[in-house]
Amino acid sequence: MTTVPRALLAIDAGAATTSVALLGKSTDRWRLLGSMAAPAGTPPDVLAAILADRLMGVDLALADHLGISSTSVEDLPRLEARSSPPATLAVLGASRRAVDLLAGVAARTPWHVRAASPETHDPREMTELALRPEVAAVLVGAGDPPGPDERGWLDDLAALVGAVARRRPELRVVLAGPVGDRPEWAEGFGEPIEGAAERVFHAPPIGVRSGPDEPLREVLESLIPNTSDTRHGAVRAVLSLADALDRRVEVLDIGLNGGLRAMASPGVADQGPSAIAVRTARAALVPAELDDAAVDAVLAWTTGSLDRHRMGDRLLDLRAQPWADAAGEGARLRLAAGRAALARLAARSADIGALASPDITVVAGGAFAAAPPRAVALAVADTIRRAGATQLANDHARLLGPLGTIDDPDERRGLVADLADDLLAPLGSLLVVASVPGSLRGSARAGRLTLDGDLHGRHDLAAGEISFIDLPPGDHALATLEFRDAARIGHRARRVAVPVSGGVAGIAVDLRDVPLRLPERRDRRRAALAAWGELAWPGDER
């Protein structure tokens, strides 16, 4: 006889922090009873015991009913997702153009990409790269037929990769295009090619670059074990969430080692829900290899007086101890790094960005875990520039990853449907208005917003600015936006009515440029960021 559990633990063992959520089924549905996070490496049982203790402190009867105590909590069934450091993929091509194309596709996967071509590295350096112990796979590709810039080096490249694969029997090799047809490949790899079927994979040539990159991405992602990966699980969970809520849901996740952007749509008729997703190591909160460009990308979002070196020091420390220094100036630095990471994620997921605005945007990951809600909303508004209206929510208990580890879609959908209200903490709504006429820039009355039933009346909207309007969590309203000239929010019109829902951040109405253009001059850019930041960090609580 099996016993249906009445409580379980959802554990997200991230690279920076470990989060544990305690779930219970007190009546006919599952509820979130509590959650807690601590620095990575903290035993989940410790977190679970403290959660159980707090539950007993506030509702002993419920704890008794669910059979939860601080001593027995470690026996509860658990859903566990985990984030692993990205494995390294060496991307080799016979020309810089070829390797850039390959690396561009590989950057839309969870691999940490190291690229080299004969134009930037000599054969010894390319061999050294491919032989490094941390390199788990090599991607080598060429056009079919090879381009004029590839022909001179292709045989050498095939021989180089073949010889490396021969020396490292555990190394997996992805051949994109006709590299495997070169005699040098077979000679370098050795005859007979033992075990080639298990570790040599074939992918389309570079020549089909204008088409979708899914075939190559699928090959690359198939080399990574996904069974318990947090972001892989989050995609499955958001699929179930879209299906359960019958809403289009987008998830934006920034973690220490990578990011995720996924758009899920509910099923239509007899078709199940569908999703497109990009998981990329490029969207890590702080890149593993911190260079000047990465530091400058964060500096561009700051208003402080740190120079590049000091900012580099702060980012190095944030990378080494991501759970530390999360208050005060550290919180602002974290959000600046989060914006830079979101911008990298948006750049790698232009296909998702081109889709219509989702009904719900879920913000997830450690980068936003402790930030003030308005600061999170502002970070999303700053970087995900898509005209339209969306409801913002936060995966505050980090449940998406663990819920995605349930393999059975029906079982997962049932649990997600039960928990939907609890797992999404409403931040508010984000309205991004594009194509506001330039002549109205600086005008205090570019338009106005009226909320149904709002006792405070109308809210004036200024072109080129963002404003926050209070609307408490749980409240819904119809927001009517009226402009002096036609603007675009979904479609072009002078008057638009969109449903909005409240949250701790309220409604963010953004009339800034799409895409966002910040002033070139540093002082003006900082002044603009500071003005917007004052809205998100009220009271300037440093």
């Binding site: 922090t17 807690m36 601590a38 620095p39 490496g41 903290t42 035993p43 410790v46 977190l47 015991a49 403290i50 203790d53 707090r54 402190g57 601080s70 001593t71 000599d122 054969p123 010894r124 061999t127 050294e128 032989l131 112990p133 045989d155 050498d156 095939a158 021989a159 180089l160 073949g162 010889a163 490396v164 021969r166 020396r167 490292r168 040098e184 370098g188 911190l290 070196h309 000091r310 580099g312 020091d313 702060r314 190095l316 080494a320 101890q321 759970w323 530390a324 220094d325 999360a326 208050a327 005060g328 550290g330 919180a331 602002r332 402790a370 003030p372 960090w537 009271g539 609580e541 440093r542």
Partner: protein, 338 residues
């Protein structure tokens, strides 16, 4: 909070292991390098374990089969050219791959030894990857190591919060590995290198100083005469903070002893296996970041979620500093030692 969880709540604080009782140290092999030892072999401090070409480059050559077909990864010595003198260095290197009927070699003409910085036993030799040597001595973990490996006698030059300036680096420290306090600037590092100091241990080293040092190392390595071994062990990170008191107690215990700085993993290996390092106090907590960075105190209980500057709510703990009332500190800003 119940008694059961009061005891375990301290486990929420990040745990930092300071000392390893034995350690496998990895010495990477780059193309062209040759391992001079075999698995199972005992090595002593100063014994060459790897041969590395200083001016390694790619060489295109014909390799005449000598009985068996050559394999990638094999070492190949070029025959001396016509007119070569007996004291000319032999050109050779590691076979990389064969293309167009000719081999590419990673090699050069001036191989130099990399010496074992401590006594130990070779655990593994992975051609093309590296050599792993195990030491049975204690090793103090660091966060990062630059350059190295190196070894010398340990000398504590400043206190935990001190900063060693260039004018305080004198030639009397030559040959030693010095504990340089909270932070060191690029000028002091350059001078330390110049006067013959073998290594630096420092709590924090900024990004600029790291880059300047590594660029200087690359230039020095490419020079005709090369440079003696030198390494930097960074204990904490990049932003200035004092060395933790348990680490300082260990360094004071090791004053005058032979130690080695190694890179993978970053650590300070103690040469004498009989030396017992003082254990950190069991109830010690250190504030790693935030306004009180560097302060040390003791656990006074879990404070629960608290609101901190910038409007963020974080799980916090009470920490007692000396005889003063406990202060709530974000748990993420704390570390404990073992």
């Amino acid at each position: 909070m119940t008694t059961a969880t009061t005891g375990i709540a301290r486990a929420l604080v990040a745990h930092r292991e300071l000392v390893a009782r034995a350690m496998d140290v990895f010495f990477p092999l780059r193309p062209g390098d040759r391992a001079l030892v075999q698995a199972g072999e005992a090595v002593s401090r100063g014994q060459p374990i790897i041969e590395r070409y200083r001016d390694v480059r790619t060489i295109v050559t014909d390799v005449a089969p000598n009985g068996e077909a050559p394999e990638p990864g094999q070492h190949h010595a070029e025959p001396a050219g016509r007119g070569a003198r007996s004291d000319d260095p032999a050109t050779g290197g590691e076979l990389l791959f064969k293309s167009g009927g000719r081999w590419r070699l990673a090699g050069g003409a001036r191989p130099e030894p990399i010496e074992a910085p401590f006594a130990g036993a070779v655990q593994a030799v992975q051609p093309g990857a590296g050599v792993t040597v195990r030491t049975q001595s204690s090793a103090i973990h660091g966060r990062a190591a630059l350059a190295g490996p190196t070894w010398g006698r340990l000398h504590v030059a400043t206190d935990a919060d001190g900063e060693l300036r260039a004018q305080h680096v004198d030639v009397g420290m030559a040959g030693s590995i010095i504990v340089a306090g909270a932070r060191m600037d690029a000028e002091a590092l350059t001078r330390a290198r110049a006067v013959g100091i073998r290594g630096i241990i420092v709590a924090a080293l900024g990004m600029k100083e790291q880059r300047d040092f590594l660029a200087s190392e690359r230039r020095g390595s490419a020079a005709v005469h090369g440079l003696p071994p030198f390494g930097i062990l960074v204990l904490d990170g990049a932003a200035r903070r004092p060395i933790a008191s348990p680490l300082m107690a260990m360094f004071e215990r090791l004053e005058g002893q032979m130690v080695a700085i190694v890179g993978t993993p970053p650590a300070l290996v103690v040469d004498d296996p009989s030396i017992e390092l003082p254990p950190p106090p069991a109830d010690l907590l250190r504030v790693r970041s935030g306004p009180l960075a560097g302060a040390e105190g003791s656990w006074a209980g879990l404070a629960g979620p608290r609101r901190f500057p910038a409007g963020v709510t974080l799980e916090a703990a009470f920490v007692r500093f000396g005889g003063r009332p406990p202060v709530a500190i974000p748990i993420g800003d704390l570390e404990r030692f073992a």
